[in-house]
């Protein structure tokens, strides 16, 4: 178990900057998720930590030791790749035992460790098979077993579940999380899937264009996004964004656009007049509740998922996506009254895209 510290880590490929001055402290035994859209630099950052890429600037520390310039083999880390990277010419047991064999451990110890790792992943009966005789999910288990067999200081995972089918992905999600909890190994997990990030990570680091946008627990990331990007990237369906003006009426600040006026809580630092209002689909209701704002609109499209229902509603100020629990048999074209929970609104500066509420 080590604490991983990234200090102003920067990686450039020619003129493009893939990772831009990222500083993070990852605690011992923490499960941290690097989340972002493709091309945001999350995989590059992971490869910098693994040593497969050399950082251009900045430092990487494991506990107090500087590993910035160490080759991968001396970092005592292991990595699970997106497409498994199990070696086709080696049997499962030789794949798993490889890291120990490289370290010239005695045969007896290798056998015990391979058995232990394969039991952890539930693949003991596959040990004598070759990778081409395995399914995708089984290969992924072999890759994870191989990664934990030498009890690494840091476990790196690069989108390990994205090649699996949806059902298996859900299953492996909890298994990997439980495995990490029992091993207590510091884990850095890269994904573009917000559900994976929210369900697995102790903390989530959201990246965009090589820059760290926000880092925090799922609660913080979801309810207190620091900027427009994080607010829009996390949550499904996406947060509604409405261009608004902030005005003062009778000593109260309100946000306003055609057909919508919402009072703001006091003591909001307002400097300019152009803002973006954010409201999550589940914070808009079809029943009136205290401290809410009523808006009307016409139902344009209904996604009846039955566990909940997603309504797309056309209003005077644009389209609103609303998520309500359970069955709701609405007809497209009907008019509907909606109630926006005033306490749940977010406000972003239009220019800087930073959150002020």
């Amino acid at each position: 178990m080590v604490k991983v510290t990234l200090q102003e880590v920067t990686k450039r490929f020619g003129k493009t900057t893939a990772v831009n001055r990222i500083s993070v402290e990852i605690e011992k035994g923490e499960f941290i998720v690097l989340l972002g859209p493709s091309g945001c630099g999350k995989t590059t950052l992971l490869r910098c930590i693994s040593g497969l890429e050399k950082v251009t600037e900045g430092r990487i520390l494991f506990n107090e030791g500087d590993v910035t310039n160490l080759p991968p083999k001396d970092r005592n880390i292991s990595m699970v790749f997106q497409n498994y990277a199990v070696w086709p010419h080696l049997k499962v047991k030789d794949n798993i035992g490889f890291p120990l064999k490289i370290k010239k451990k005695p045969t007896q110890e290798i056998e015990t460790k391979v058995k232990w790792a394969s039991e952890m992943l539930g693949i003991t009966e596959l040990l004598d098979r070759y990778p081409h005789q395995l399914s995708g999910g089984q290969r992924q288990r072999v890759a994870v077993a191989r990664a934990i067999v030498m009890e690494p200081e840091v476990l790196l995972m690069d989108e390990p579940l994205s090649n699996l089918d949806a059902l298996l992905r859900v299953k492996m999600r909890s298994e990997i999380k439980k495995l990490q909890e029992s091993l207590k190994v510091t884990t850095i997990y890269v994904t573009h899937d917000q559900v994976e990030a929210m369900t697995m990570g102790d903390r989530i680091a959201v990246l965009k264009d090589g820059k760290l946008q926000q880092i925090g627990g799922s609660n913080e990331i979801y309810h207190k996004p620091t900027n427009l990007f994080v607010a829009g990237f996390i949550g499904s369906p996406q947060m509604n964004f409405i261009n608004v003006e902030v005005k003062e009426e009778e000593n109260i600040l309100i946000v306003a656009t055609s057909g919508l006026e919402i009072p703001l809580p006091p003591a909001i630092p307002i400097k300019k007049s152009e803002y973006i209002l954010g409201i999550r689909p589940e914070d808009i209701h079809i029943k009136e509740l205290p401290n809410s704002t009523r808006v009307t609109g016409e139902i344009y499209f209904v996604e009846a998922l039955r566990s909940d229902t997603v309504l797309h509603v056309n209003t005077d100020f644009g389209k609103l996506v609303v998520k309500i629990p359970g069955d709701f048999d609405a007809k497209e074209g009907e008019n509907i009254s909606l109630y926006i929970d005033n306490s749940k609104i977010h406000l972003f500066e239009k220019e800087s895209e930073l959150s002020i509420l």
Partner: protein
């Protein structure tokens, strides 16, 4: 309807016969010649047949020697070409080398021009360094010319091996050297074998270079075949030709049996 079917059947039979004739026809001629003791025009099959020339091959030194020499040269050429081509190909496949395209084209050069003038010129140069008239001169040119096949085939093989398989090993504590020998090289074996077979067969059958550099002091099997046929000794030429077919057929069986695509199919995922 029935007529139509009969016509179709006849057409199929004719097509099969034609194909068999094209493929097997010339072979029959060679096989007949190898067993002929007396065969004069206009007879369709030899008047007197026997195994005399086959016996000759295994008794009389000259023919047997030429075959053994060809085997020896081809084996050494295979080893040399693998030893030179494998590291070069690994470099081409994994690193961005300066002038990469240019260097790859250089390897193509010996095959890019007509063989005859090239080998005549090489023979002239070799003569000054006493590399003509012995086995090593032939080995030298065969290795050089066969690098075309081996470098290109092995480069393609290394490129087909996902880099992540190597990176996984690097991550799990292996050095670059260890990674190459435990992961990359074993995975490249099908390509190395394919290249070795290709080079071996090419060297076994190569005539021009062996002729200009080796003759008249030493004769490889193809040169032997040529001189025999030139001296109207069709029987000896036929026997040598048939014997030279053995390695080709043997390798075809090996390729068919062991170089299954599914072995590489498990790569990457």
């Amino acid at each position: 309807m029935k007529k139509h079917r009969v016509a179709l059947w006849l057409l199929k039979v004719a097509a099969v016969c034609f194909i068999l004739f094209v493929i097997i026809g010339p072979l029959i001629g060679v096989v007949l010649w190898s067993f002929a003791i007396k065969w004069y025009w206009p007879h369709i099959i030899p008047q007197v047949m026997g195994v005399r020339y086959w016996m000759d091959v295994f008794h009389r030194g000259r023919v047997l020697d030429s075959i053994l020499l060809s085997l020896e040269i081809a084996s050494i050429v295979v080893v040399l070409s693998l030893v030179i081509a494998a590291p070069a190909a690994y470099g081409f496949s994994r690193y961005k080398l300066p002038l990469e395209k240019f260097l790859l084209v250089i390897f193509l050069m010996p095959q890019a021009f007509p063989q005859l003038p090239i080998f005549i010129n090489i023979a002239a140069v070799f003569a000054r360094h006493s590399l003509t008239g012995n086995m090593w001169g032939i080995i030298f040119v065969h290795t050089m010319a066969s690098l075309v096949f081996s470098v290109w085939i092995i480069t393609a093989t290394f490129r087909s091996i996902p880099e992540e398989l190597e990176q996984a090993a690097l991550n799990l504590g292996a050095s670059r050297f260890k990674t190459f020998f435990t992961i990359t090289l074993p995975l490249a074996i099908p390509g190395l074998i394919a290249s070795a077979i290709f080079v071996f067969l090419w060297s076994m059958g190569e005539f021009t270079g062996a002729f200009f550099i080796g003759a008249p002091y030493i004769q490889t099997a193809p040169v032997m075949m040529y001189t025999a046929a030139m001296g109207y000794n069709m029987q000896t030429a036929s026997v040598v030709a048939l014997i030279l077919m053995i390695p080709s057929i043997a390798f075809m069986i090996i390729i068919e049996k062991y170089l299954k695509a599914e072995y590489i199919g498990g790569l990457g995922g």
